[in-house]
Symmetry: C2
DNA sequence: CGTTCATTTGAGCCGACTCAAAATGGGTGG
DNA sequence: CCACCCATTTTGAGTCGGCTCAAATGAACG
């Protein structure tokens, strides 16, 4: 009695309405012509195989990239050669926003599965920012939100134990999937235990043990990378409060 | 033979040239009249006593605030009532940038000592953003930089032990003081051990023990909140590499 | 069907936490 | 100026969670 194989995250593709660029594409209160002008400089539907680099650390940030389908991990390597995983990118989410800091990407973003993305060249973006107030606001909003999430997650890591972190990770992932209209209680993890561990400041063994513990207590089914959440409330409670 | 009392961070006040708003105030390539217009809507030199709130969680973000002198801590409270300290704000640094996410501040910022700050109302800011390309770029840069720093710090917390974190904290503080032209090897900590601990995901006892260990090994002098760094390289190495 | 990588599980150890008490420092009022 | 009080900081002892090292199991792919 285990979780059955379900379509990978890659199989689903958000519509423009659910895209993080939604309010940019539709450009708030823009007249139709302006919205069209925007889509003209937007390169859509580019594809990458699993394991390919969407963004490379140190490269000039010459475009704003948003994942359209599939998933990726944002990561970098410390001076000692240890990998830190900053986060996982789901469809509709922008990539490499921290590149606005220096105009250069400061981390790698790697596809975890076959992936599609949209690309908005910076040159065109800056010109549009000048004309479109909604775009300006949306960009600031995205950055502010990313900053808030990063700080909040860091707080979590500081105060919670291993099981809470894993629960928090699952709850967050589930919630983000739900927001995209994807199945949120039964899904396939596109990242390895090692990736999860490096994201949560744990070892892969500890992540595995936590998942096994959840399974043993009947809160979820885990079989390899297939997950089925049986007690969402319990996970959410573990993740956010204890 | 201990560190002598030195002026608190509060005693120093950055000039506009060292301010994070520098490129905003001078507004890049702005004609003089525009720079003057900017300073007109900028409220400078407001003051707060130690312990007062510079920003309150949940409050509407109606201005962009930059600390001018003194220092503050950015913090919030988890659901369980545990305090998490997101960071410490030094002169010249902006405050509450994550408020751009929802238009509402998502953390408290509290003065650690008597403090002065500048305040740029959002209404005026938005109008200026429309007109001044340099201001737009600077704002995105600040947000991107903050995001990058937050992610980088989170990575540190994930992989390093207690002593490395404390060393990293001291090295970072020292570097930021130096950038402001303040003494960077001998200074007074404006925050408590508890604040440092909650910032680094440790307990206050562990922070104290780490500082004592550094003292014992001759890397720095610590006496209450007065710190004198004797071996900057060692601290930096501990913080960034081990 | 075999190879290879990812994941699970076990045993033992170490560092950071918890609980507790002593010491230090800063500030206040007499 | 001094004595006192309070909060902060330091130090100690013991426990436990997560890490390390190691081996077995399971899954994926050609």
């Amino acid at each position: 009695m285990t979780a059955k194989s379900v379509p990978a995250i890659a199989a689903a593709c958000v519509s423009c309405r659910q895209c993080a660029l939604h309010s940019i594409c539709l450009a708030g209160h823009l007249p139709l012509e302006e919205a069209r002008a925007l889509e003209l400089s937007l390169e859509r539907g580019r594809a990458l195989p699993a394991g390919a680099a969407l963004v490379r650390c140190g490269a000039l940030m010459d475009a704003l990239i948003v994942v359209r389908s599939g998933s990726a991990k944002s990561h970098s390597v410390t001076l000692e050669g240890l990998e830190q995983v900053h986060g996982f990118v789901l469809p509709g989410e922008p990539v490499g926003l921290e590149g606005f800091g220096a105009g250069v990407y400061t981390c790698d973003v790697t596809a975890l599965e076959p992936l599609e993305y949209c690309r908005m060249p910076m040159r065109g973006l800056e010109a549009l920012i000048e004309r479109l107030p909604g775009l300006r606001r949306e960009l600031l909003r995205l950055l502010g939100q990313a900053l808030d999430e990063s700080q909040r997650l860091r707080g979590q890591l500081g105060v919670s134990d291993a099981r809470s972190r894993v629960a928090c990770f699952l709850a967050d992932l589930s919630q983000r999937l739900a927001r995209r209209g994807l199945p949120s209680t039964e899904f396939r993890l596109s990242m390895s235990r090692r990736d999860i561990a490096h994201h949560l400041g744990l070892t892969l063994e500890t992540v595995s043990r936590s998942l096994s513990a959840f399974k043993r207590e009947g809160w979820l089914q885990v079989r390899a990378r297939n997950v089925k959440v049986l007690r969402p409330q319990v996970l959410a409670a573990l993740g956010s409060s204890i």
